[in-house]
Amino acid sequence: MAEQPIPTSSAETPLLELRNVTKVFQSGIRKTATSQTVALREASLVVPSGFPTATAVAGESGSGKTTMARLLLGFIKPTSGQILYKGVDITKMDREQARAYRREVQPIFQDPFEVYNPFYRVDHVLTTPLRNFGLAKDEKEMRRRMEEALEMVGLRPRETLGRYPHELSGGQRQRIMVARALMLRPKIIMADEPVSMVDASLRATILDELRKLNTEFGISLLYITHDLTTAYQVCDNIVVLYQGSVTEAGSVERVIRDPKHPYTQLLVSSIPQTDRSQRWGDDEIPTAEANVGRATTGCRFAPRCASAMETCWSEIPPLFHLDTDRAASCYLYRDAPVLPSEGIGQVFHRPHETPTPVG
């Protein structure tokens, strides 16, 4: 892919930017083709400053979405590319900047059971960050801030504080995690599958809270999920990953309602919808194991793709800029202009500038 200058469409420095990030995991000592796993390949993502956005990172298992989350949280370092927070590379931050980053980008994890130490009361997860960041002068203020945050996520402090994790339901525990994030007044909340372990009737409530954090408290949201339906409901923009590569990106109205990349199409058509007029077709899905003998050095989806051409097997497709709100990494659209990976922000529309729904 030809390197092109970074488009300066926005004068402002983005709040958070993933620029051409590649992460390769190496197993063993010798570098061979099979010992290296490309978990993320030249992925870019932009969270603009100035206004809050909700962006979904969607993909199935092995898509690299959790790798992206771990990179963003600084647990692992990118093999190449940069992660910039307010224009500063997060791997090169000084102590003060790193602390600010740690406070302003807050994670919410998938498992509301594992994040708690069963020997501590739930207060512990709330007081620890307050102490670490020196956000409360005394015990009284600490208590007040905890109560405030719990009330914001719809929990009664009196019935929550002082309890042990096993005394609370999964939904309640997950809401405490939302409260914890909220308490630190973050700029970005990064939620990795926050509702996959929560029951259906409580799921909607938590998702609604996340959306309200975005719309009412002005916190940008990075929503990492395998579930396109909730991504559609909660977010404005989406990046779809397949085996570490961005397949399609843009507004959720475009990408989920009218997918263009064959993988996104397969994914959307496989969603079991409650609407019985949207039944799964009877068509056989081309399966990975049918083409297992053929290795691809090009598009990762080629072995499962019904539209795969010869080019797809040998060359990695760049992102093609299909319309103002969408780009897809597929040679079916090679007539469209190429969008450099780091220009991915161009297909993200601002909230409230909702593109007209398709269909």
């Binding site: 670490n132 929990l155 309890r163 339901s169 599958e193 029951d199 609604d208």
Partner: protein
């Protein structure tokens, strides 16, 4: 997928089913399963009745703790202590499974009624080739057969689930998650059972693979004309797969009927709120969950278990438990609104929350309906169980399956001063 409900297409592999007067192949009558706990019995399945004809697909939906998995194990009579079947009948072609002696039961399992368990990864023997596991099942039920016949049957059975013959020689670890689940399905259906009980067969799989696996199950079922009980928590999956739906809440079957009818005009308030809480792809809207929490089975509210969360609640609901009653053609619901009404009236205005209300107001409105006593009861139970060394986990959902940030990451975060 749109197979007629009554016709039973038979394949050459299918054993001819004896003609019975009743067309119901599975009849569950007043089934009760209880778990013994130090503070009293917990009724995990509470007076559940339904019947299923050959070729029909029933989806049993429920949240965690609703009794759906207990139901699945009870249908196979696999309930283990501290659980026990406390009453009722499970009639398979007229024979009560609950009355069979151990030998007769062993013969019936797999041959007549088969289980496709949750988490196929853990259901296969890791040190046996797939073909040996399948042959084991055949030989255990039908006795010794020539190697050639067995090999043919293995190949045929693998083909039925869309797997290549080479898979027979593989070990489980050589297969992908979807292939493993299909292998389990191949083993479960090798003797053409009359009833297939599938307990969340796709809960750990990606959506594309999930669709493949479910369509495979559908094809097998159509091929051998068996009835399927699909147990799950995903309304979408059940809408796509089933003909009939049963909704479970706190151990009771609160609604039962044809999927299309139940989805378009649910009769039970819980069913309606559950359907409305599911995010849809058709339009962006406010996500409204069901206020409150499911009740702890140890501290069930008096009367209807759903009454503390129900917007339609009236006096009778808090004193008298509703019984299942007919609410339309082949439809059953357990709710006091019937038979006085023909339909479920629109949601009361107090529940249709103001979309512009600030978070805390909405939350307060929702928390206000949360019933007290649950946490205490659960804590007491958890403590007791822990004291007894039981391996039962506290209230939690099993809807997991997608790998996220691992615990090591969380420790990492803590270490770095989060």
């Amino acid at each position: 997928m749109n197979q007629p409900m009554t016709t039973v297409p038979a394949t050459d592999l299918a054993t001819p089913a004896p003609a019975t007067a009743s067309s119901a192949v599975l009849q569950v009558q007043d089934l009760q399963v209880a778990y013994r706990t130090p503070i009293g019995d917990v009724r995990a399945v509470d007076h559940v009745s339904f019947s299923l004809e050959a070729g029909q697909r029933l989806g049993l939906i429920g949240e965690s703790g609703s009794g759906k998995t207990t139901m699945a194990t009870a249908l196979m009579r696999l309930t283990r202590p501290p659980g026990r079947i406390a009453g009722g009948r499970v009639l398979l072609d007229g024979t009560d499974l609950l009355q069979l002696d151990d030998n007769a039961l062993r013969r019936v399992r797999l041959r007549e009624i088969a289980l496709v368990p949750q988490g196929a990864m853990n259901s296969l023997n890791p040190v046996m080739r797939i073909e040996d596991q399948m042959i084991d099942a055949i030989v255990a039920h039908e006795g010794r057969q020539s190697r050639k016949v067995l090999a043919t049957r293995v190949t045929q059975q693998l083909a039925r689930v869309g797997l290549a013959p080479q898979v027979a020689r593989r070990y489980p670890h050589e297969l992908s998650g979807g292939m493993k689940q299909r292998t389990v399905m191949a083993i479960s259906t090798v003797l053409n059972p009359k009833v297939i009980v599938a307990d969340e067969p796709t809960s750990a799989l990606d959506v594309v693979v999930q669709r493949q696996v479910m369509q495979t199950l559908g094809r097998i079922q159509e091929g051998i004309g068996s009835a399927v009980v699909l147990i799950g928590h995903d309304m979408g999956l059940i809408a796509q797969f089933a003909d009939l739906i049963g909704v479970m809440y706190a151990g009771r079957l609160v609604e039962f009927g044809p999927v299309d009818d139940v989805l378009t005009s649910p009769r039970h308030p819980y069913t309606r709120m559950l359907i409305e809480s599911i995010p849809k792809l058709t339009a962006k809207g406010r996500l409204v969950g069901i206020p409150g929490l499911p009740p702890a089975l140890l501290a069930l509210p008096p009367g209807c278990s759903f009454s503390p969360r129900c917007p339609y609640v009236f006096e009778r609901c808090t004193t008298e438990a509703p019984v299942s009653q007919s609410v339309g053609p082949s439809r059953v619901a357990a709710c006091h609104l019937y038979p006085d009404r023909a339909d479920l009236p629109p949601l009361p205005a107090s529940v249709v929350l103001d979309p512009t209300a600030p978070l805390a107001v909405v939350a307060a409105a929702m928390e206000g309906q949360q019933e007290p006593g649950r946490a205490e009861a659960e804590a007491a139970l958890a403590d007791e169980l822990a004291a007894e060394g039981a391996t039962q986990t506290a209230a939690g959902d099993s809807a997991a399956g997608v790998t996220g940030l691992a615990q090591s990451d969380i420790h990492e975060l803590t270490r770095r001063g989060h």
